[in-house]
């Protein structure tokens, strides 16, 4: 017997509120952000960007930049074009999708303010930035394309003239009965148009990339602030022609992503190309303001939604027509992002007909792509807003309307009208718990009371009973959706000779706590101490296979892979233990890291001892491969469907238009929980971003297509004073589609909270005749909505943005604004 592990009692790790292993280096500043990396001979790259939304490039003259102190090289788009292919889009959603060429640095035409035009390479970052002004560019301005509806009209100016249209694709989904027939037999049809404003993801770490070449052998190591080192490696090999096996991609410490680093960026390709040409290491780090132009945006849709129902509140059908702003180019999953919502509009409700179309539209703005929730926040917003509107139309409590239509707990598994099979859920339980925490009846009573006494500060109650699909994804479903890659995830679990454990994961965490959670999972299966497990990730050489981190997939797919690989380790170890103990494998118990012979508990071996036996390999069963390491790759059978009930109470001052969140209660069901502290943190952060969309955030463009919310001083990322204290609780309905019973959690808060807040504001103002407030619901917009409902203001100015700006989605600028820009 060796000392120690055999006699411990192992408290289950899964479910424990472990403080994170990740924190020590982060709280002490011993970090490896990409921009921290500095190597001998390293050069700095700066990018010259288009100051115009749309223009022909007549001439780019880079040589004058070479005269500047410290400058080593400079390249125009044309200089770089030979060595670099078009930037990839891996989700051509329809057969006839329009896929424009996307050079990493523009050659003939710039198509959004911020489109790269040239790069300067210098000995330090100041010299590179200074020399940009020496690059001489002649532009001929072209018409910007900003209004989604006007962009589709005959004769509209074109973003990509060679394509002959701004229509990128039309993607329909029609299920159940015929919409028109259902509409005809409905007692009530409610129609609304919602604008999903453009958002800037704002991961706190700006993007950065460092490339280190070894010219003699043609090998490249690229550090990048990315969520997806594995995908970047594959696609960078394709774009640059560097053989994949010669390219190593490392995502070191990465400071948040929220989808913005689920991307393969031109600057990564250019840094590789420049390092290849110069044979020297190159670094590029974006400034925040540069990132606002150059890092993809999220949302950006016009949603036309209709619901049909009976007078007693039974939903009959739903029709959704989207216009989705692609921006100027198709980036990694630009066209597919709105379609991630296509299946979620019916949400938790039963109905007979569902008709959806999405039309992708090119504009001369920064490309859009995934931002936390990606398609599902938009869908959830639309359906949850519509449920409130329908309830108002029917004179019914919005909660009662939801109850009458949601899938009951005893109906699971349930196949939604959109064709998704929800494996499990308990909407009743989550809602009951949320109502109790919130004090729903009391709030309603107070609301009535305030209306009665004419209080200028109205109380509003907003509900969001959401579900979402995450845990991307079954590879076959991705094939059916025309997505180019699979949705599997890998793990490798190895026990080292000293009995310690390394878990290699294909996920790529950037704040989510995988190191802690994967340690908990492995510790339970192997029966080893939590502290004995280390997790290796984010380096294509150390963790060679993976599909990375996005879409609330890491635990559901990657965590499952860890669980399964660890099980395989136990099974291999069992063979050795049986051999050493001269017992049959079936005669062994395995508990808390110890194999023991049934009926003779003294005959035992710890898993750590077996690890050493495997290492020495002196006495293994005949024919056994001398290792207990194990790999596992999971391809999920289904998505994951977390759900929950969010309740928001707001005080809206009808005199100033100011909104204050007074109470926010959410009860989420994310299945079994590996680490409740981490889950709660994910929910908090998700709520903050969803509330940000509801109240504060918007990427605003002027009539010329310039981003006017172009710095962090102009774009309102919520601070601590802008957000309330949240009350978070859970119900736990285990998923039936993975052995851990877990569901995704990363995006749930963002998906659920936006409609809860806006529903609350509209609820407060409904007695005044207000039926919608466009997002973000700033004091000015709330105030205007009230005035408009009172007939004190025309409809037109209600949606007016700050001076000189146009809405990002759709509407033409009010005539009076012309000339202000």
């Amino acid at each position: 017997m060796t000392a120690g592990p055999a006699d411990r009692t192992h408290e289950r790790e899964v479910g424990r509120a472990r403080a994170r292993k990740e924190d020590a280096h982060l709280v002490t500043g011993q970090t490896t952000w990409t921009d921290n990396i500095s190597v001998p001979g390293m050069l700095h790259m700066a990018v010259l960007r288009s100051p115009m939304a749309h223009a022909r490039i007549d001439r780019v003259d880079v040589p004058p930049a070479l005269e500047r102190p410290g400058v080593v090289a400079a390249f125009s788009g044309r200089d770089l074009a030979d060595g670099l292919a078009s930037m990839p889009c891996v989700w051509p959603v329809t057969e006839d999708i329009v896929m424009p060429d996307h050079p990493p640095v523009a050659v003939d035409e710039v198509r959004y303010a911020g489109d790269p035009v040239a790069v300067v390479i210098a000995r330090d970052r100041y010299a590179a930035a200074d020399a940009l002004e020496a690059v001489d560019v002649d532009y001929t301005p072209l018409e910007p394309v900003l209004d989604l509806e006007a962009a589709l009209a005959e004769g509209a100016p074109l973003v990509h003239a060679d394509k002959g249209t701004n229509r990128c694709y039309v993607w329909p989904l029609t299920t159940g009965e015929d919409w028109d027939a259902v509409r005809a037999r409905a007692d009530v049809v409610v129609s609304r148009r919602f604008l999903q404003q453009r958002l800037i993801p704002n991961a706190m770490e700006p993007r950065a990339v460092v490339v280190m070449p070894i010219a003699a052998s043609g090998e490249y190591t690229m550090y990048s602030a990315t969520q997806i080192p594995h995908i970047v490696r594959v696609l960078m090999a394709m774009v640059t022609g560097i053989p994949e096996q010669k390219l190593r991609v490392i995502a070191p410490d990465v400071g948040g992503g929220f989808g913005s680093k689920l991307q393969v960026y031109g600057e990564e390709a250019v840094a590789l190309a420049v390092a290849r040409t110069l044979g020297r290491p190159v670094k590029w780090t974006e400034s925040r303001s540069e990132g606002y132009l150059a890092t993809h945006h999220g949302r950006g849709q016009i949603q036309d939604v209709q619901v049909a129902a009976t007078r007693d509140g039974k939903l009959l059908g739903l029709k959704v027509d989207l216009l989705a702003d692609m921006g100027a180019y198709l980036m990694l999953i630009t066209p597919g992002t709105p379609l991630l919502g296509a299946f979620m509009y019916p949400a938790i409700y039963k109905m007979d007909a569902y008709a959806f179309t999405c039309t992708g539209v090119f504009t001369t703005r920064t490309p859009t792509d995934a931002y936390r929730g990606a398609g599902r926040p938009e869908a959830t917003f639309a359906i949850e807003r519509m449920m409130d509107e329908l309830a108002a139309e029917l004179g019914m409590d919005p909660l009662e309307l939801r109850r009458r239509n949601w899938i009951r707990h005893d109906e699971f598994p349930y196949t939604s009208i959109a064709g998704l099979t929800y494996d499990s859920g308990d909407y009743e339980a989550a809602t009951e718990k949320a109502l109790a925490l919130f004090g729903y009846e009391g709030m309603r009573a107070e609301q009535q009371e305030r209306v009665r006494r004419g209080d200028p500060v109205r109380l509003g109650i907003g509900i969001s009973t959401y579900t979402e699909m995450c845990g991307v994804a079954p590879s076959r479903v991705l094939r059916d959706l025309r997505y180019a890659a699979g949705g599997w995830e890998t793990a490798n679990v190895r026990m080292l000779p000293t009995g310690k454990v390394e878990v290699v994961t294909g996920t790529s965490p950037h704040g989510q706590g995988h190191v802690t959670c994967w340690s908990q999972i492995a510790a339970d299966v192997l029966g080893v101490p939590f502290e004995d497990v280390e997790v290796v990730h984010g380096d294509t050489r150390a963790a060679p296979q993976g599909m990375d981190t996005y879409g609330s997939r890491s635990l559901v797919v990657g965590g499952t892979a860890v669980h399964e690989a660890a099980q395989k380790v136990v099974e291999k170890a069992r063979r050795i233990a049986a051999h050493l103990l001269e017992a049959g494998e079936d005669d062994l118990d395995f508990a808390e890291g110890v194999f023991s012979v049934k009926g003779s508990p003294d005959a035992r071996r710890t898993i750590q001892e077996i690890a050493f036996e495997a290492f020495s390999s002196h006495d293994l069963p005949d024919g056994m491969e001398p290792t207990i390491h194990a790999d596992h790759v999971v391809d999920p059978d289904n998505f994951s469907y977390p759900h929950g009930t969010h309740l928001c109470a707001v005080d809206v001052d009808t005199e100033t238009g100011h909104t204050r969140i007074r109470s926010y209660v959410c009860v989420d069901d994310v299945g079994r929980v590996v680490n409740p502290v981490i889950v709660e943190g994910q929910v908090h952060g998700g709520l903050a971003q969803g509330i940000g969309q509801a109240l504060y955030e918007e990427a605003v463009y002027d009539a010329d297509g310039n981003l006017t919310s172009g710095t962090m001083a102009d774009y309102l990322v919520p601070s601590a004073v802008d957000l309330p204290e949240f009350t978070t609780e859970r119900t736990e309905t285990p998923a039936t589609t993975n052995p851990l019973g877990v569901k995704g959690v990363g995006e749930a808060g963002t998906i659920a909270s936006t409609p809860a807040v806006v529903n609350a504001i509209v609820d407060a103002l409904r007695p005044l005749g207000v039926t919608d407030v466009p997002m973000p619901c700033t004091p000015e917009r709330v105030w205007r909505a009230i005035r408009q409902a009172r007939g004190e203001e025309d409809a037109a100015p209600t949606d007016r943005r700050p001076e000189g700006t146009v809405p990002t989605t759709g509407q033409a600028p009010a005539p009076s604004e012309e000339g202000l820009a």
Partner: protein, 159 residues
Amino acid sequence: MNRISVTVDGVAYQDDVEPRLLLVHYLRDRLGLTGTPIGCDTGSCGACTVELDGRSVKSCSVLAVQADGGEVTTVQGLGAPTGGLDSLQRAFHEKHALQCGYCTPGMIMAARDLLRENPDPTPDEVRHGLEGNLCRCTGYQNIVQAVLAAAREGQEART
């Protein structure tokens, strides 16, 4: 070029710097003290917060020459050099007040300043005190809890 003398995390440095060099770039690029990150270019995010002569400053909004003769403390100067955590660092860890950790050095430095001014803040005072420091990951709730916990610990130490 200007010659400056500055003490950072207890170590005295003398360097020739360009007058326009930002303190944060001096710390990161010249001294290799990369524990202090940069989150914006408009003084909005607070990620770069350090202590200069006992007051918290956004080191992206201060020139290196302005620190001449001064004493700077960064997050790397807190706790024990071998990795022991100070009370705020420990509270951030225990209360799960960080996810990606990018805002954390600045948050901790700003919270130090806050607690020095107001050793026993209310949750609301903590929120206002940290208004200049943005976090995109946590929704701030656990950051507030961490600062309150560190404040309590400070109170106990004093009584």
